[in-house]
Symmetry: C2
Amino acid sequence: MRFAGILIVLSLSLCARAQSDKRISEHIRKNDHGILREFMQFLAIPNVAADTAGLQQTASFIMDLMRRNGIQQVQTLPAKTPGVPPAVYGEVLVPGATQTIVFYAHYDGQPVNAANWQKGLQPFVPQLAIGTPGPSLRLLDMPSPGTAIDPEWRIYARGASDDKAGVMAILKAYEMLRANQIRPSVNIKFFFEGEEEKGSDHLEETLDAHKALLKADLWVICDGPVHQSGRKVVGFGVRGDTQLEITVYGARKPLHSGHYGNWVPNPAMDLVQLLATMKDKEGKVTIDGFYDDVVPLSASEKQAIAAIPSVEGQMKTELGITRVESVKSLPETYSIPSLNINGIRSAETGKLAANVIPVKATVNLDLRLVAGNDWKRQQDKVIAHIQKQGYHITEQEPTDAERQQYAYIAQVTRSKGYNAQKTSMDLPEAKKVVAAVQSTTREKVVLIPSFGGSLPLYIFEKVLGAKTISVPIANHDNNQHAENENIRLRNLFEGIETMAAIMTMR
Amino acid sequence: MRFAGILIVLSLSLCARAQSDKRISEHIRKNDHGILREFMQFLAIPNVAADTAGLQQTASFIMDLMRRNGIQQVQTLPAKTPGVPPAVYGEVLVPGATQTIVFYAHYDGQPVNAANWQKGLQPFVPQLAIGTPGPSLRLLDMPSPGTAIDPEWRIYARGASDDKAGVMAILKAYEMLRANQIRPSVNIKFFFEGEEEKGSDHLEETLDAHKALLKADLWVICDGPVHQSGRKVVGFGVRGDTQLEITVYGARKPLHSGHYGNWVPNPAMDLVQLLATMKDKEGKVTIDGFYDDVVPLSASEKQAIAAIPSVEGQMKTELGITRVESVKSLPETYSIPSLNINGIRSAETGKLAANVIPVKATVNLDLRLVAGNDWKRQQDKVIAHIQKQGYHITEQEPTDAERQQYAYIAQVTRSKGYNAQKTSMDLPEAKKVVAAVQSTTREKVVLIPSFGGSLPLYIFEKVLGAKTISVPIANHDNNQHAENENIRLRNLFEGIETMAAIMTMR
């Protein structure tokens, strides 16, 4: 009985245009109040790594929604390691379909610091509004039934874009097909990860433990933003990612800046001096061998990059900047490894500032990796650079013995990480996905050999031998990974259409 | 009737040794439980600038204590500006005394961040303990009446050393003299400031408004620590002090480090690069003209500095460091201006770290000044240096127009500040104070031409034409201006003796 509803309408659906389907866009318009309400409920559930109960509730919400939509085999896929937020799985097997696509999104969100959100906005109290963060943002009440919903409205909440929108678009796409009795052209599997923002540390063992269930021809990854020009995007790769947290130490206790200032070493000044050696004025990382492992771009990739519409002028205006850090163009920077200061902290500034010599100073560095880089080797290069500046490296707070032995001590904590991944732009399934996405829009779809952002896509190839293609849906100005995260409703609605088109691709 | 008690014992006290008086030290020992209890009550009252009610309560506590000890004219001395925590005043006029000494301490404390205090310690829940902060610190219950009090015990609380200990030592010294019917040799005035840790912004107008009342031959300043060797100290000067807070700006909103990292400028990296230009590897400030205004030391000052016992080996061990920032000795650094990073902040580190490009990065700089420096001119030098690095300087958050016009923008907030002050080591009153302090100890008193720390002592000369001498009492390892501030009871008790000796100096 699994596909009774679908089988009945087989003859109908075969006559319909298989990809962009007017019935889907009309159905979305007719049901926009319901989609909005359901998505707001979803966003109200906390989904940060530190909140185990919140993540469980998020997974349960997804599974309820899947079961209500007749998706089969709904279950969590636990990792071997206990206590890891499990992936959520479900499937729709279509009689006669010869190909299987797994639709991937993740249900966990980046950590939040609610204090940084704009007045009126909170990470887990989803708020409808018009406009982008700032004084012109206007908060809106939920619309009364029957009134028009403006697709320019945004919902503000952690995960609104990254990546509960992905989960919602995929599930709503299938719900819309089912409601309109449109048969998918492929077997569909759903895989919603719960640990992506923590670095997907257990994704590999999860895939490995459920290999048979996850067998597929292609994974479609729904995460991240469309192009800044507003055009839809298909991406063939992602950068790898890892972090290093570095803490340098001064005196064992904080000291009065008058009595000891400029005699006792100041770890904030030491860290500043250290970090300043890592980059030149043109934004080039000056760490030995930092760019050495990079695999050069192919001709077709270079061509695709050259065809990406330039948005640099628009972006500078939008971001309030007149210069950029790199001499390269924005899409060109996606093809080289990066070193970014995520945050730096030593003692206090502002009202809490006191005249002290701090005891330590900490920086969190983000390293993005491209094809050819190995994340551990990339960490090693940074650590070797720190050593070259005279630092003793330790993995914990320095002991008294270390303090006596070494003039400069840096505690380095390696995050786990993963490497970059690319899929060939000439793969037949990839071309079908591009055609499906193109069928939903009059504007030329932007093809991106590798995104600047990261997902652990290499794992899919390593464990399952699976190819991956990224089809993001969020607005580019969604503030993902930061305060005031939001999704524009147009992006959510068009994202549902896009996913439905891929589910019926020919 | 004002001095009835004192006049009656005039004949007795004239026979007694006027300075270090065994009766005082014995009286302290006999009353140690009472002193401890009263001081703990005093420390339990919050005294940070942000807590107006707490500061009022602190001032009231002091005035109650003064009135109970028969001090006359007890009153607050308000500044002309409303809302400023007032100074607390009182006096004891001694018939026949030809000289007047004002005893100065301050009752406000540095800002607190309770989260940074060691487990078991809180800024305004004074805690008796043995040892210094760290795993070996042992918390103690209050001793039962009649049991011995170990002078090595410490009290942990904000203000324990800086500078409620000063207030307490001065008031208890007079209380002990009175209880033992010992007549002071000088007229005594008490002046307890309430705004020192905020930079004494209204001290000048306060002194100016109460000039007649504050007429005196000498001010004795009781603030700061004794020498690290444990020896008592008389200081003839202090450094000046001011701060600058500098914020540099990146994009208008936080951005994903994958999508924009190393293309959009990172303000944390910009700030790091900027700060790194301010100091060389030998700890020398590389800002143009930074050392230009410095008045060279006199021969006698050089001699005094050379006679200061070296504690550098001890300090390095105690602080867990093997190197120092400057090629100069610790007392030598007190004679040059300093530039210290009080704190630096941009986005988050640790568990709250996210993969973002921060929107801004802030540093709080402390500038200590020596004779010859002007605090505004010293700020100007730093600001000129920032401009020289290509920054546009603004006093508020950059406007859209500024963002469009300038590639590099730094918001600079100038704190108020004050200049250094020195009193001649050959002044007759200064020599009397040195002799009085020397009479209380067998070890040679350390004479310091200028402390590294700061007090707005120049104002006393400017407004009142008054000379100042510093007689600090706290242990050097008191963590003033930081978490886990403490006073060792021995220092409090000996401080009372020291103040009593000065009140009876000949």
